[in-house]
Subunit: 328 residues, 2 copies
């Protein structure tokens, strides 16, 4: 089959279409003809050789997809040839075909395109996991979502509003991105380039007023994050885009405010965890996807032959929402 | 009634016996004749003016006691005059009489003295809360308990061994203290004054091998704690005796190992929380206290007129286990 492979022959890594052996489904897996896949930041890291591929995962990039079931393993019970499915992959989305455990697949709701469906799994499952499983968000709490216009950010805004009736605060770096966040239901949108988000929150909402923070930035925001957290607040680190090291750690507020700080990732979780997360998300939120109350924010769609342009757009932080590849 | 009060007339705070109004029980409270109380580190802070008294709490020191029910409020259903009880107080133990919500009291098991019973609530409820409620310890996990010979330390060793069949590692600062920890069931006891605890754990147990850490030290141990934590490990800060500030925070391991860092305290929890914790502890562990499988470690017993000597002993870190006051 055809697949996009990392070519290092020029001295720097470039995606090139090439031939790769067709994957073989395990007894509990579906072989799927990929119709669309979506970019994730991990793709850029993996392409550069900085993201180890988990044991047993496909070496091909691509952590999510939407497509059509081609064949099924003998133990598969819920799907058959021709079904339209989407879901998380441990790798392999940048290809004509991929395999996925039946328990990681979800049926594509009516009226949803392949491109829309492909943009859902990573961001919505990450947001759901981060806010609910890890952050233990409760009805009506106040949530701060950094990088609000990112894929996970836009998903988290919708999950927080639609499922937990939360008060949502976001940070983003342009007025277009802030507007997008507001359209999705954000209550307070802060431009981190022109304002100190902690000061704005203290003025507009109150001091120590945030129950849950979804953070992708890490060290540069640590002190301000701790400062705005409320009693029993939780800070969830899903990424460290701004760096991991800070020179000023003060534990006093962690103890005084009884804070919880947790790091989490989705990709290195085991199959059982991903199956449980997928199942719970499908039961809880797929109706809202079907009724368009929850929708993936699609930034742009590229033919998979233009993958380098797509990667460049993500690398430059030009996207608001998901970047999709199709045309496999 | 007589009580021990803080006297600042000499320019430094000293405990002196004096007169204080008798407390009046609320409808759901017991008035208890105190027979024994126990010291806590918070007593020293409060005496020095560095520990704010929670709203509604007695200004008198003393966070736990054992005694005899004198009278009961009209809504009390489980206890009557003459019953022997012990439990957590939000203050008021250093006195002839105190009040306690019925739901915070536990019956003193047969064969347990007032002095033994008074040494149980703070340390065992803190240890139970820290290990199970906050640290979410699971059967057979590996636990690192710093200050293993302290009141909370000796309680945590027993809770971890008796209730959760854990592998227990402790740190302490003398061979006597390490022996005490071993007698209580500790598997690996490390002298932090002569050895690097992280190195010893890595040699004896393995790298990234600790599931739950109970920490009272804070900043000086932060980096080593993070280093020995296993995947999905949890570090619970119950105190910051060694300081709150460190200059070197690296978040990378928090994300990579999916760690949880939590601060917790017991005293500033609300009444409902303390009642739930007391009830669950009594249901789970009081049988083991009665059968002496779990026992408070009593360092020493002082007449309450010798309270200054008792405080000095704690201040100098000379105690292994609880320091008790009686003779009220």
């Amino acid at each position: 089959m055809k697949a996009l492979l990392v070519d290092n022959s020029s001295g720097k890594p470039v995606m090139k279409q090439g031939e790769h052996p067709m994957p073989k489904p395990n007894p509990n897996e579906l072989l799927v003809k990929v119709e669309a896949t979506a970019l994730n930041r991990a793709d850029l890291l993996q392409k550069a050789g900085n993201y180890p591929v988990p044991d047993g995962a496909s070496p091909i990039l691509g952590l999510e997809m939407a497509g059509r079931v081609e064949t099924t393993g003998p133990e598969v019970t819920e799907y058959e040839e021709g079904d339209l499915v989407f879901g998380l992959l441990s790798g392999g989305g940048y290809a004509e075909y991929c395999v996925i455990p039946e328990a990681h697949a979800m049926p594509i709701p009516d009226l949803l395109s392949f491109e829309e469906a492909a943009g859902i799994p990573e961001t919505f499952l990450t947001a759901y996991q981060g806010l609910f499983w890890i952050g233990e968000i409760m009805e009506g709490e106040t949530v701060l979502i950094h990088a609000g216009a990112s894929g996970v950010g836009t998903s988290a805004i919708q999950i927080a509003k639609q499922l937990f009736d939360a008060r949502v605060i976001v940070t983003a770096g342009s007025s277009e991105k802030l507007d997008l966040c507001r359209e999705l239901g954000t209550n307070l949108a802060i431009n981190y380039k022109t304002e100190d988000f902690a000061e704005v929150i203290e003025e507009e909402i109150g001091s120590s007023s945030v129950d849950v923070i979804l953070d992708f930035i890490g060290a540069p925001y640590w002190e301000q994050n701790i400062r705005v957290l409320a009693m029993d607040g939780r800070m969830i680190h899903l990424g460290l885009l701004g760096g991991a090291k800070t020179e000023d750690l003060n534990l006093a507020n962690i103890l005084r405010k009884r804070l919880t700080i947790r790091g989490s990732t989705l990709r290195n979780r085991n199959d059982e965890y991903k199956a449980m997360l997928t199942g719970e998300f499908a039961d809880t939120a797929l109706d809202l996807v079907e009724s368009k109350q929850i929708k993936p924010v699609i930034d742009s769609v590229f033919d998979w032959n233009d993958v380098e342009k797509a990667h460049q757009r993500m690398k430059n932080n030009e996207n608001a929402g998901k970047i999709i590849l199709n045309g496999m």
